[in-house]
Amino acid sequence: MKDNGTYKPLTYFQLMEVSLRELLVEKGVITEAQIEEAVQDMRRRTPERGASVVARAWVDPQFKQRLLADGPGACESLGIDVPKLRLVVVENTPGVHNAIVCTLCSCYPRMLLGIPPDWYKSRNYRSRMVREPRSVLAEFGLNIPEEVQIRVHDSTADMRYMVLPMRPPGTEGWSEERLASIVTRNAMIGVAVPAA
């Protein structure tokens, strides 16, 4: 049985990662356990957490008001920890569609939703989303009617944004869990909308 760990020398950057980590551990700056714990911690932060916040906002108008006024507080009230996150939630309405981008780097509400997808950090998204949002959304399969205002949020500083999508028709009487299951990460970035 061949061991398919095909030989590939470490890239310069992988070499740097290993070396830096070992140096920092040797110097007592951090421990291996801390790194491992932080990796697992980020793995646990998934879009499902954001979806459950959206579902709650759909069924509970008071919670929704709180979410729009105090994003972090609202999340914490659901037992969803968001350390150091200055979350601003922007609401889609029949007249307004929101979308999030960070043109300068890759700012994203990581502590709520986890690591952002490659495309969010790509040159093409970061360049074009502020300038031609309708074309970019169309590439994602989302065609926003002319009469709906598009608000693009460029997160350049300390705030992090999440879109609160509209609850789609045909979901009356659904449980929160079922509602959460149709809220995708892309809908919380604003390049998609939930469908029943």
Binding site: V88, I150, V152, H153, D154, D158
Partner: protein, 106 residues
């Protein structure tokens, strides 16, 4: 005006713009670490909210403490004002967080 996030720093500059006020982004291009995107410089928009006051990232990047904390606003710009060839609804906007020291009255 109530800030979205209340922050406590040793020193801070007083906010001087109100929600709804017209402001213009300064047309400067210094070297260093800048968080005001190039595409918005020189353009005029409206204050949408006061986010709070935060240390200046330009200074934090240089290993300094970035104090006094600067008021940070969300400023709303009409896309058709920003891009001469914008194709989309006239109502479309882009909203950007901009520090007070980059803004002047329009």
């Amino acid at each position: 005006m109530q800030p979205q996030f209340v922050t406590q720093y040793a020193s801070g500059v007083a906010p001087c713009f109100q929600v709804g006020e017209r402001v213009r982004v300064r047309k400067a291009a210094p070297p260093g670490h800048i968080r005001t995107p190039f595409y918005i410089r020189g353009h005029a928009g409206t204050i949408e909210r006061l986010c709070g006051s935060f240390p200046n990232p330009e200074e934090l990047a240089q290993m300094r403490d970035g104090l006094p904390a600067q008021p940070l606003y969300r400023v709303r710009f009409r896309q058709k004002d920003v891009w001469p060839d914008y194709r989309g609804s006239d109502a479309d906007v882009v909203e950007i967080e901009i520090f007070q020291h980059w803004l002047e009255k329009a």
